[in-house]
């Protein structure tokens, strides 16, 4: 297991280097002079030069990248060109909101889709099965913002069951009321996908010989379904849960904008609109890192659950 984890960690290094290059290039892919974009089209030349110096644009590209990596290693992501606050501080303030939203979203996804998938597979061609298939089709064509706005309209504006916007820590009841609609929004697509996957994975295992043997032995039926069939259907489910975490992160960008949550997604969108390059770079880097590390953890969990993966 240790050698598997080491190998997997080593494979992550080139990806992280590639991510750092891409994030570094965000500033340099800007059409025209990024310093002029930041300073404004009417800025005097000395102000533009000062911005160039602040952003390090007055040095050769390889020097800029080298310094960028060195700063990253020291945890220095630069300063916002708008608020002049350290980017890392802004990210650390907003990251918990985004991670909380994504984690509650994942928990909700698993809590809803896994039982629905199991029951749908067990009752194949039943109304529930049909409803699952329809929900998957609908969710695949519905943008995240549409789900969010419809929920907002029904439950916050019309029924007034939940607050319109804002955020509070989950240690309070108010925090759960604030996160409820955003969590349902962010997990809407993932719930449908995971339910379909659980269903198809369960359909395969329910017809395996070991399930038939367990039934023939007279074991309790729910035990057969959960302990024999579901445990073996779990592997693809884990993969998709991990992958969905990344997609929930990008869904969080949209959801935070709808529900005015002070998360990293909203920070990123505001930074793009305000052409605040250091914040854009920092937020993209942080979200990509979270995604890469989640995938790493999923792979390790995968190997822990199924020994065949370790020896493959």
């Amino acid at each position: 297991m240790a050698s598997y984890i080491t190998g997997r960690l080593l494979l992550t290094v080139p990806v992280l280097v590639g991510v750092s290059v891409l994030v570094f290039l965000i500033l340099h892919l800007t059409p025209g002079n990024p310093a002029l974009v930041v300073a404004g089209p009417d800025a005097p030349p000395d102000v533009v030069r000062e911005v160039e110096h602040t952003l390090g644009l007055d040095q050769p590209l390889y020097v800029q990248y080298g310094k960028y990596v060195l700063r990253l290693i020291h945890g220095d992501l630069g300063r916002s060109v708008r608020s002049h606050e350290p980017v890392l501080r802004q990210l650390l303030t907003t990251l918990p909101v985004t991670i909380t939203l994504a984690l509650v979203g994942v928990a909700l996804t698993v809590a809803v889709s896994v039982p629905v998938g199991i029951v749908a597979a067990y009752n194949r061609n039943s109304p529930l099965d049909l409803a699952t298939i329809c929900a998957v089709l609908a969710a695949s064509a519905m943008p995240v913002f549409a789900v969010g706005l419809i929920l907002l309209w029904i439950f916050a504006i019309t029924l007034r069951w939940f607050p319109l916007s804002g955020y509070a820590p989950l240690t309070t009841v108010d925090g759960w009321r604030h996160i409820a609609l955003p969590a349902v929004t962010v997990s809407s697509g993932a719930v449908a996908l995971l339910a379909r996957l659980t269903r198809s994975s369960m359909l395969e295992t329910l017809h395996q010989d070991y399930v038939r043997t367990a039934r023939a032995k007279g074991l309790w039926e729910p035990g057969v379904v959960v302990r024999h069939a579901f445990r073996n259907a779990l592997l693809p489910v884990i993969t998709i849960v991990g992958l969905q975490f990344g997609f929930l992160l990008s869904g969080a960008v949209v959801t935070e904008s709808i529900f005015s949550l002070p998360g990293m997604g909203r920070l990123l969108v505001d930074a793009i609109l305000g052409r605040d390059f250091p914040v854009v770079q920092g937020a993209v880097l942080m979200l990509a890192l979270t995604f890469v590390l989640t995938n790493l953890l999923v792979d390790i969990a995968y190997a822990a659950v199924d020994p065949r993966v370790r020896y493959a």
């Binding site: 991510v19 500033l27 990344g246 990008s250 960008v253 793009i272």
Partner: protein, 291 residues
């Protein structure tokens, strides 16, 4: 093979169903093709049938619900929603075509090279790993962070973000075709690689590429609408569906129809392309449904 099937195939006069017949039998293809054809028709006839100028404000008619004069109502500036949605179909289809065009060109080229030349495979696929380190929408947002918010940049961003999926599908299809005898025979005859790629490999991987292209159209339209909703793509007053919802969210309390109709337009369009893509996949290559 079941006995009954074997008997029917062996029976005189048996003809394997043609591709068109298989496509015609699929309800998904029929619904998807109907929606996409209707969208194409709407795009063509919009200037002739749209009842109003989509950009013309009329402050006296603000926030009107559906009526005979305005079948889908009016928006915050009194503009006719039906006309804006009809014109929006042209923008959405253009987004799909341009973004998928970028993804297709880049993705198929890189996928062909990665699959055909083992030396390039590692370089190209590791580069794709870096792009895949970003969830698709986040990559598009990151690219817009560099290029700046606009509709054109949103198309480019969505196109680039879709390249990895084209590369992966094309590469795996090329890997399957590369070792086929007809490719080896062409090589043995001294045929140039470019000729083999264009004349032998490309036609044989086309089912996989056609399916990916159709499904990518749906994803591109969806992603571009999300970017516009965030204010990063089409900017108001452009009648792009996502941008229309971006404006409409401020009036959800008393005029929800301004948001609901563009959402419905996005939903039906994306569902149409998804149905068509899924149906084509099942008809052209059932093995792909397991990818």
């Amino acid at each position: 093979m079941s006995e009954a099937l074997a008997r029917s195939i062996a029976a005189p006069g048996y003809r394997a169903p043609t591709l068109w017949r298989r496509l015609g039998r699929s309800w998904q293809v029929r619904i998807g093709a109907a929606v996409v054809a209707a969208l194409g028709l709407v795009v063509l006839v919009t200037p002739a049938v749209a009842p109003y100028d989509p950009a013309q404000p009329n402050v006296q008619d603000r926030f009107q619900g559906p009526s005979r004069a305005h079948p889908l109502g009016t928006d915050d500036l009194g503009r006719d929603l039906l006309s804006r949605i009809l014109y929006g179909s042209r923008i959405s289809l253009a987004i799909g075509v341009i973004a998928v065009g970028i993804a297709f060109t880049g993705g198929v080229a890189f996928g062909l090279f990665a699959g055909f030349y083992p030396r390039l495979d590692n370089l190209i696929m590791r580069s794709m790993d870096v792009l895949l380190a970003f969830p698709g929408l986040l990559l598009a947002i990151a690219i817009l962070g560099a290029l700046g918010p606009s509709l054109t940049n949103a198309m480019i961003a969505v196109g680039i973000a879709s390249i990895p999926s084209f590369v992966r599908i094309t590469r795996s299809a090329v890997l399957a075709v590369r070792s086929q005898e007809y490719v080896e025979a062409s090589r043995a005859l001294g045929v140039r690689d470019a000729h083999i790629l264009v004349r032998h490999v490309l036609p044989n991987i086309s089912p996989a590429v056609i399916v990916t292209t159709t499904l990518s159209m749906a994803n591109a339209i969806l992603a571009a609408s999300v970017l516009s909703f965030l204010g990063l793509g089409a900017q108001p007053p452009t009648p792009e569906w996502g941008a229309m919802v971006f404006v409409a969210k401020n009036y959800l309390g008393f005029a929800p129809h301004i948001a609901l109709f563009p959402i419905l337009a996005i939903f039906v369009t994306v569902l149409g392309f998804n149905f068509l893509g899924d149906g084509l996949r099942d008809a052209l290559d059932p093995r792909l449904s397991r990818l």
